[in-house]
Symmetry: C2
Subunit: 135 residues, 2 copies
DNA sequence: TATTGACCTTGTAGTGACTTTATGGTTTTT
DNA sequence: AAAAACCATAAAGTCACTACAAGGTCAATA
């Protein structure tokens, strides 16, 4: 199939496919006489794998690492688990940080609920205050 | 004070300060005869405000908007509140999404706890499976 | 037959918020 | 006097694309 069909099948834009190829995530397919790329099912599977990893929040570098395991399935899988564990703990940190920030923002927001002038509003002052207690 | 001192005071790198100046977030300071920037306390406060906004997750564009209120404090403050409300609801969405992803990753990770070969590990297969049920 | 439209090609630039690198001038310390 | 630390500017790199420009190819229509 050609690049447009593959794109539609997997739900990606054609540029993204070419981009993955240039990044070395998708093997360069054969070409027709006119230069058009022709893809096989294997390419589709590989592309779907990439997309799902991205949806899970993995970086292209991490995906690259996972692919090296796909390509050589007789390695021990500890490294895969380590990669996922890393990613999970990283995500947990991120979630915790976001929740803390949300709390701060909500309490900041609570410092003004009325129609006032900026001068009397308290929100900007609240931001400035906080900024000096950091680190 | 000079740029390095300001940087140390606020906990930023000097390049970041010059970057904020170029972006119009920090007013261009006076210069010494040799061209070195000289900063006042006002710059320090402004820079601290920017940093704290960044730590709260506000974009430079949002900070720019807030600064226009700082610079003209006799406007009504509804717009500030609206900006914060927007940002808070955006953050809540982000947190929910991250939590869902974490759950997926954890269950994926649970598909292999042992030392196996990649082939028998199940994690990569789990990623591939999931990828086709999306959209 | 000419041309329109949909598809394909390549390469380059833009996004956000910086960070890094290159190149060179100035000041301070040894 | 020389080395280290600081300052300046400008340009390129980061990440994961997205958008754009300029053109080649192909099938269907006027």
């Amino acid at each position: 199939m050609r690049i447009g069909q593959l794109a539609q099948l997997v739900g990606v834009e054609t540029q993204t496919i070419r981009f993955y190829e240039k990044q070395g995530l998708l093997p360069p397919p054969d070409r027709q006489e006119n230069g058009y790329r022709i893809y096989t099912e294997k390419h589709g599977e590989r592309l779907a794998f990439i997309r799902h990893c991205r949806i899970l929040g993995l970086s292209l570098a991490e995906i690259h690492e996972l692919q090296s395991f796909q390509d050589d399935p007789h390695q021990p899988c500890n490294a895969i688990n380590a990669l996922l564990d890393d990613h999970i703990s990283h995500m947990r940190l991120q979630i915790t940080a976001l929740q803390a920030l949300e709390k701060q923002l909500v309490s900041l927001r609570a410092s003004c609920n009325n129609d006032r002038e900026v001068e009397a509003c308290g929100v900007l002052a609240g931001i400035s205050e906080g900024s000096l207690h950091h680190q």
